[in-house]
């Protein structure tokens, strides 16, 4: 778990990272010196109670972001083995929200695998916690990339973070996804690739993405663009594909 937490600590503006369970028990933490174990345990308990209340109004909550005068708290739900865990990032005002969103999403995916007893990714989250303790290494971006060699999907010109696995039916479908992410990035920024991955899971949840559901994907992604003119431009650009 420690390398995952450390990878978030490496983000500009992040001052502490906590993982706790639904009962508020602290499972792991990293942070600047002032965020000692006692403080983190205390905060975990308070946050768990807050999330219990959140659950009453928003049972399917995924992320809670609290904006303070001098910083932010980002809480990301991680369900592993049917149990809710919470990845919490404490940051000052210099945090880049877009980049942090992607990084937290990636870290949450790795944390889920660790909590479920599997490896986070190649070279991450394996071995005993004692062996991992103190390690400040974070995975190179390439280590968290899906194997897309046979898919025709290339993300290299879009971004190098925020990747999770998507499967495609053929190289043309992969190329189309890459184009979607590139076009969408012009309107929503670096989180575009994450949006594309999520949209693929929505429009083609059971089978590899294919051009048969391309129209549905464009419509789904268009909903991520607030400005109507931008949305039309995005849809027109992809309609040419």
């Amino acid at each position: 778990m420690d390398p995952i937490l450390q990878s978030l600590m490496d983000l500009a503006g992040v001052t502490a990272v906590l993982v706790f369970d639904s009962a508020g028990q602290l499972l792991g933490h990293r942070g600047h010196t002032v965020y000692d174990q006692g403080l983190c345990e205390q905060v975990s308990g308070a946050l768990a109670k807050a999330l219990d209340a959140v659950q009453l109004q928003q049972e399917d909550w995924e992320t809670v972001t609290a904006h303070f005068a001098d910083g932010k708290l980002v809480l990301r739900r991680v369900i592993a083995n049917g149990q809710t865990h919470v990845l919490t990032v404490v940051a000052d005002a210099t945090l880049n929200p877009s980049f942090a969103t992607v990084a937290i999403r990636v870290a949450a995916g790795k944390l889920k695998r660790v909590l479920e007893g599997g490896p986070a990714s190649s070279g991450v989250g394996t071995g005993s916690s004692a062996a991992r303790a103190g390690s400040s290494s974070s995975p190179a971006p390439s280590e968290s990339r899906p194997n897309l060699a046979n898919s025709g999907l290339s993300w290299s010109k879009i971004s190098n973070v925020g990747l999770s696995r998507v499967s495609v039916a053929d190289p043309a479908s992969g190329a189309f996804l890459a184009r979607c992410a590139k076009e969408l990035a012009q309107h929503v920024g670096p989180i575009a690739k994450v949006y594309v991955e999520e949209a693929v899971r929505r429009v083609s949840p059971e089978t590899p993405f294919s051009m048969a559901v391309a129209r549905a994907l464009i419509d789904d992604l268009g909903a991520q663009i607030e400005d109507a003119a931008d949305r039309t431009q995005f849809q027109k650009a992809l309609a040419k594909a």
């Binding site: 109004q57 399917d60 303070f68 708290l73 607030e226």
Partner: protein, 107 residues
Amino acid sequence: MADLALIARIPSVASAVLGDLAGGFYDAIREGDGESVASVAAFVSSALAGAGEELGLGALHRVGIAGEKRALAVVVLGNSVVIARIEPAASLAAVERALDAAVGTGG
């Protein structure tokens, strides 16, 4: 005091509730159970504010709660709390910006 009608007119705001940090309920638009929403939002805001204080983050301004299909935005204005239910969830960021403009916060 926030103008709830103005907030309820923000695109993608499905309902809006006005309460206070003590759990009091003042008003609601398109929300059937405003009292519950206000009390839960007050508790969440108070708990997060307490955690933020412990962590040295200063005063709590705003909370965004995102789910798969819908979201909630909670804005703290002194002792008052404004809660907006947002559908779809993807509109959360846009609504938060509109809320900041509507209630005059920059949080």
